[in-house]
């Protein structure tokens, strides 16, 4: 900053600014790892993903194999030993004697699955719509952005809930609902940064080379919109997890046969008032830790990607 100020003034502008040897990517990665809290968040998140992927190998029992459940062990508080000598329930059991730790691990799988699959589809649709709007401008742009604005003026939870109310429960339906409520965020993000890029010289140059529309859009325009896209995607994946949990908690999300964390919490809710807090509390803790970890990463990414905040 101040170096620029020095160059003006009385001195002739002789020397060009030294070119930094740092690539932007290196700078961002380094910037990210400077923040211990964000690194911590990232580590936790990676651990959670691994645990979710390998849940069947790690979990003490398959919570949905009824043969493995022991009704005698129903409603045990955390740390109790199994009545039939099958080990210790570190996080207690629910009414049917289901080990909560295992249920949480399997629940995480479903929560993350729904969130990531919907994220992927929403990004593809949103990015396509956003780049198209920015690249073609004019009528195309205003049509797409009208739809985006209309959609964003209604709360995501409302739209998703109504859709699921009309369709019924189901993992696939939840995913579709999440895609529908999320694509618009990506479209808006990508459009606003692509529109800045589209006016720059190198895009003009690409036009002159008579490159095809899609080639310019996806090979030239899009890579330059990545930073804001990454930030929004991090925020949105946390939002997707929370939204899915909320929908399932309300009884409009995943079916009982494939319970996500939200549904586990809902099931435990009935026992909350009678003092069996653990059935609801621990799935909730898992949910919260996941979301907070992602948000820590997202917060830091926002800072390192934002040149305005850099000193």
């Amino acid at each position: 900053m101040s170096d620029d100020a020095f160059i003006s003034g009385l001195a002739p502008i002789a020397a060009a600014k030294p070119v930094s040897i740092d690539t932007p990517l290196r700078r961002i990665v380094r910037g990210f790892f400077e923040d211990r809290l964000a690194v911590f968040g990232l580590a936790i998140f990676i651990a959670i993903v691994l645990v979710a992927i390998f849940a069947p190998l790690i979990a003490p029992q398959n919570p949905y194999d009824l043969a493995q459940l022991d009704v005698l062990d129903g409603g045990l508080p955390p740390g109790s030993a199994s009545m039939s000598g099958g080990g210790i329930y570190y996080l207690g059991t629910d009414e049917q004697g289901r080990d909560m730790l295992s249920a949480i691990l399997y629940g995480l799988r479903i929560s993350l699955l729904v969130a990531t699959v919907s994220l992927a589809f929403a990004i593809v649709i949103g990015v396509t719509a956003g780049t198209t709007a920015a690249y073609f401008g004019g009528k195309v742009d205003s049509l797409i952005m009208r739809v985006v604005d209309l959609q964003l003026s209604f709360p995501a939870i409302l739209i998703a809930l109504i859709l699921l109310a009309l369709w019924g429960r189901g993992v696939d339906k939840v995913i579709i609902a999440l895609v529908i409520v999320q694509w618009a965020y990506y479209a808006r993000t990508v459009r606003s940064s692509a529109i800045v890029e589209a006016r720059k010289d190198y895009i003009e140059a690409a036009h002159c080379l008579a490159l095809s529309h899609s080639r310019i859009m996806f090979h030239h325009l899009l890579p330059n919109c990545l930073p804001p896209l990454i930030v929004v995607a991090t925020v949105q994946i946390a939002q997707a997890i929370a939204l899915e949990a909320t929908l399932s908690f309300l009884g409009a999300g995943v079916p009982i046969t494939e319970p996500s964390l939200g549904l586990l919490i809902a099931n435990g809710y009935n026992y909350l008032l009678s003092g069996r807090y653990w059935v609801s509390l621990f799935p909730g803790v898992a949910l919260v830790v996941t979301i907070v970890a992602i948000n820590l990463v997202g917060d830091r990414l926002r800072d390192v990607f934002n040149p305005r905040l850099q000193k």
Partner: protein, 342 residues
Amino acid sequence: MTALLSIKDLRTYFFTDDGVVKAVDGVSFSLARGQILGLVGESGSGKSVTGFSLLGLVDPPGRVVGGSIRFDGKDLLTGGEPALRALRGKRIAMIFQDPMMTLNPVLRIDTQMIETVLAHDNVSRTEALKRARDALVMVGISSPDERLQSYPHQFSGGMRQRVAIAIAMLHKPDLIIADEPTTALDVTIQAQILAEVQKLCAETGTALIWITHDLAIVSGLADRLAVMYAGRVVEEGETARVIERPLHPYTKGLIASVPQGKTRGARLQQISGMPPSLRNLPKGCAFRPRCSRADEACLEEPALEEKLPDRKTRCFHPWSLDDARDTRRQAPSKDGMAETTT
């Protein structure tokens, strides 16, 4: 004549994450009542920070770390915030560089003026409003009643700067610090504002510190000049004498780079080299890498000394003093001065 303001060896540093920026590192000058001082220096030389230090408006990570500021016999650095606040706007006012930014965009002009009156004087709102109106008239704003009800964005840049000047004049202060108040304006407006401020100060007996990087502007305006380089005052004295016989090589370079009315088409000299980075100053005299007169002695830090009567400079080998002795040094253009044509 006792000085209204006397600054000695002021030091204001910014303690940033990347190291200490010595924005002001040895500023000394003094000013009598009603006098105009031109504070000149290139961008980043610490002029604004000097002004803010005077008012106690240096924000963290910046801090005044040394020196003394005596205003009307009182030490401003030891008085504490309440004393400073009582002084700000009342006895020392400041006008900023960019009039587009100095007025609060969501408050009406009358609000912004009345609050200034009420901050220091216990008068009724009607009285405050009347004073605000008078001040606007004084700076030449027509239909003041209507203007008072407007928002800043309804004004042009020149008008806004007039409003800022009117606010500064509300309490008829003893001193106004004008931080490049005309750089953001059109040339014609610049001249008007300059003339007006000069007139107002003469009428009210207000002393003025006019901060600028443009020597041409102040040379016709100021009684005294203080030239800053890299956070230090390198030369101070009466304007006419400084212009006529600059002592410091930097001042000499500045004067050489001002286009002279008579010598149109003549070659303008510019000081070669880059302004130094405050984080990484050369050893000894800060001007050394750009100075044609530098020698080993300059590896020591020069002090601001009175080389001629009422002529201070911070240089081991000032010009003019040894002109007669050492003509060899009078042709510096080959290595020291780059030449450009206007």
